[in-house]
């Protein structure tokens, strides 16, 4: 069977020590049996490693930050689409999802397909809305509260016990043992991600994660549970192993079927000593460790592309238990002209011979 030609665009090329999912997502689809691919990288910063890694992107364009708004993004994407003919676009950052969802109709008109959760799915699973989510769908969630000012921090001790978690709207989570630490994290997080800052009850137990894909009708296309074996100082997995845990799988299927989840998803769960599973966060996209699922037999990024193209996708039945991943870092040599071209023109072309300045 000959492979289908596909031009894919993806963000999240920041394969740093706090990696975005772009590079593993691209790598997974490149290994697909179905597609033969060209990849357009979309980058926010000039040093995202995926721009320079061989065999990942064919060319890369800079795009405006989500904080510049939908119009600025669409204008840029229209320009990019006039040069490329992108079939499917996979956004990989939490902070940009809202902007891409708002743009999805106009992207569709340009011929760019996406497969994203709906705005209400995005809103409903938001950290601030987690308590309501728990009640509505009958899942265990930690108690949480939005705070908007210093005054709120003093009042926390009336409702929470220390330690507690301090979290940003999109990213960042810190454990705080006292008010002073809450204040410190509050300043840091609010400066970066705005308000509110979310306070969450700290649930003791083991953190476990699930990567999953919903087809939008309530069906779970695939799901693989994992436990992090080694964690960086940023709380990111540096090594992990697939688990055999029917309760986690059942919870995942329950959430996807109740919410009719559409697109990729990562569940962050805490398993307590009494074997209860608390939902800590629901990330509305594929996580950076997705390649483990591919290695265990479920190419979820490929399935997502198929769903975006309206192709039929059969749910995955199995995965290998006890498969591990270990991340490593690797120094590439990059010639200055590549960086220069991206910095001054906002795009790096594929086969340009760079002369030294």
């Amino acid at each position: 069977m000959s492979k289908i030609k596909l031009k894919l665009a993806a963000t999240g090329l920041n394969n740093t020590d706090n990696p975005g999912p772009g590079v593993p997502v691209i790598r997974s689809i490149r290994e697909s049996g179905t597609f033969s691919m060209e990849v357009v990288g979309l980058a926010y910063e000039t040093l995202e490693p995926g721009i320079y890694m061989p065999g990942i992107t064919d060319r890369t364009y800079m795009i405006p930050y989500p904080s510049d708004g939908v119009e600025a993004l669409l204008e840029r994407l229209e320009y990019i689409q006039s040069k490329e003919k992108i079939d499917v676009l996979i956004p990989n950052f939490d902070a940009e999802l809202y902007t891409f969802m708002k743009s999805s109709d106009r992207l569709e008109k340009m011929g760019v397909r996406t497969f994203l959760p709906t705005l209400s799915q995005l809103e409903e699973r938001h950290k601030s809305n987690l308590p309501r989510f728990g009640k509505k769908y009958d899942v265990l969630v930690p108690k949480s509260k939005d705070i908007l000012s210093y005054q709120d921090i003093e009042k926390l001790r009336e409702e929470f016990e220390y330690p507690l978690m301090v979290k940003g709207k999109f990213y960042d989570a810190y454990l705080a043992y006292n008010e002073e630490q809450v204040r410190m994290h509050y300043n840091k997080i609010s400066a970066k991600w705005g308000l509110p800052v979310i306070i969450q009850e700290f649930i003791r137990g083991t953190e476990v994660n699930v990567v999953a894909l919903g087809d939008g009708t309530g069906q779970t296309v695939g799901a693989v549970p994992m436990r992090k074996q080694y964690i960086t100082d940023k709380g990111k997995a540096w090594g992990g192993i697939t688990l055999d845990d029917p309760a986690m799988m059942e919870l995942t299927r329950h959430i996807i079927s109740k919410t009719h989840w559409r697109g990729g998803m990562e569940l962050e769960l805490i398993k307590t000593t009494r074997n209860e599973l608390y939902v800590i966060e629901i990330n509305p996209r594929i996580p950076a460790w997705v390649y483990l699922a591919v290695g265990a037999g479920q190419n979820l990024p490929e399935a997502l592309v198929k769903l975006a193209l309206g192709m039929e996708v059969k749910p995955f039945r199995r995965y290998d238990v006890g498969k591990m991943f270990v991340r490593y870092s690797y120094d590439m040599i990059v010639d200055l002209p590549r960086f220069e071209q991206l910095s001054t023109l906002g795009e790096v072309e594929p086969e340009k011979s760079f002369k030294s300045i």
Partner: protein, 452 residues
């Protein structure tokens, strides 16, 4: 030889991890005209700074809001929130469109009357309604929205003296799942205070209980809270139907709709996140229609939204005074618009556009006002094109609150013009002069003698 257009030279450090806007082909769009009138021409004629109001935008925004609600609900009435912008010309545009008046002081009450609004189309809100004005409101048959029990008893006494039944509503505060909770105005729903107030009103027989009022907060980015508030007011209304067979005439959902400005601390811009009138309307009207109120008794729905109706219609035009490097090398631009005129710069990241096309080159800049005060900052940091001394700029979306909360501080307040739908420019508030300020002052005799 033809000379090349000049742009000031500049250099920018490229740093990884920072937004690298440079080299991106997104230009900052200039605002050269407002409703077909050139910005430069406006400033030449009326001076800088200058407030400009687009009548066309006002009317279009009003009609859009009215359409959103009236296509979903049978009886809809808007009431113009005077405190948002009480320039007479502005009020009269909304009154012409069909708005009643919503006032929160004796001064605003008189202003509404002077604008030709009869008392029975005035909603009188707020915690401070002096007895003299309560009397006036009763006589003019205005709708008095009772804020607290003390007011309720004052009104009861006045009713007895005047031998009239005042037309009243109560303001209700409640938990709608948002933070901060506004509980300083009106009677609380959850603890039964609101129901208690309604019972006392019904039993006393001194009042005409006409409506229920809530105003849940300001700059509400979620429409869900309005749905909850409408449902709670509807619940009180069904309670009145059941217990007294009393049918109220209206439910007033107040205001608080967000405009498209970006709040400080927000990550995504307001143009992307502010709900539309349709979204607010959907939440409110579906809560009322799905409530226990009998269909034939569905009350009139009143909306007091101010900001969302006028913000987009207002512009503040100004001129660059100087550019300056701070000791850190960071660029700052000093402009003739200060926080005394643009109060909202304390909470918005205002959009500032050049008044003529510029190249795509921009630089991170702080924008300072002209006051000799450290707090006079219009934008702490924005990506701004390379404007020079004397260049004009336009600050958009400033129609709400600035022309009421402005201060005569250090400088005088400038002209305000309105551009009518035929693009004719009308001066609607003349700039202040030394005389405007001095005529209010009195100099004691012993300070008048001239010394040699």
């Amino acid at each position: 030889m033809e000379k090349i257009a000049f742009e000031r030279p500049f250099i920018k450090k490229l740093s990884a991890g920072m937004p690298s806007k440079f080299g991106m082909k997104t230009e900052i769009k200039p605002v050269t005209h407002i409703d077909d009138v050139a910005v430069e021409e406006l400033i030449q004629k009326y001076g800088s700074p200058l407030f400009v109001i687009s009548e066309k935008t006002m009317r279009e925004t009003y009609q859009e809001a009215y359409r959103a609600f009236s296509t979903r609900y049978p009886k809809v009435q808007f009431a113009w929130s005077y405190k948002t912008n009480y320039l007479d010309a502005v009020c009269r545009v909304f009154h012409q469109e069909g708005s009643w008046a919503e006032v929160v002081s004796g001064f605003e009450f008189d202003k509404a009357l002077a604008n030709g609004i009869p008392g029975n189309k005035i909603l009188f809100n707020g915690p401070d309604k002096p007895e003299e004005y309560l009397k006036k409101a009763i006589e003019q048959k205005a709708y008095i929205h009772i804020d607290h029990f003390d007011e309720l008893y004052t009104l009861k006494q006045l009713a007895a003296t005047l031998k009239t039944r005042p037309r009243v509503a109560i303001r209700v505060n409640m938990d709608v799942g948002i933070y901060p909770k506004w509980d300083r105005f009106g009677f609380n729903y959850e603890n039964g205070e609101a129901w208690d107030a309604l019972n006392r009103i019904m039993i006393s027989e001194s009042f005409e209980l006409e409506g229920l009022h809530a105003h849940i907060g300001t700059y509400m980015m979620t429409t869900e809270a309005y749905g909850i508030a409408a449902a709670k007011l509807a619940d009180l209304a069904t309670g009145l139907e059941r217990k007294y067979g009393h049918v109220i005439k209206y439910i007033d959902m107040g205001g608080g709709f967000a405009s498209k400005n970006t709040l400080k601390g927000a990550y995504l811009p307001g143009t992307d996140t502010a709900p539309s009138f349709d979204e607010y309307a959907e939440a409110i009207t579906s809560a009322l229609i799905n409530s226990g109120i009998k269909p034939e008794n569905l009350p009139m729905l009143i909306l007091e939204t101010g900001r969302a109706l006028i913000d987009d219609a207002g512009y503040l035009l100004g001129t660059v005074i100087a550019n300056k490097r701070l000791s850190s090398g960071y660029r700052s631009t000093i402009v003739d618009v200060g926080v005394n005129l643009l109060f909202t710069s304390f909470w918005y990241e205002h959009q500032i556009s050049p008044a003529r096309p510029t190249t795509q080159h921009t630089e991170e800049t702080a924008v300072f006002g002209p006051l000799c005060m450290n707090i006079d900052v219009i934008r702490e940091s924005m990506v701004f094109p390379l404007l020079k001394t004397g260049d004009r700029f336009v600050i958009s979306r400033i129609g709400a609150y600035n022309m009421t909360q402005w201060m005569q501080f250090i400088t005088l307040r400038p002209n305000v013009v309105m551009i009518d739908p035929e693009s004719k420019v009308h001066l609607i508030r003349e700039k202040e002069s030394l005389e405007t300020i001095r005529q209010q002052e009195r100099i004691p005799g012993h300070l008048q003698a001239k010394k040699q």
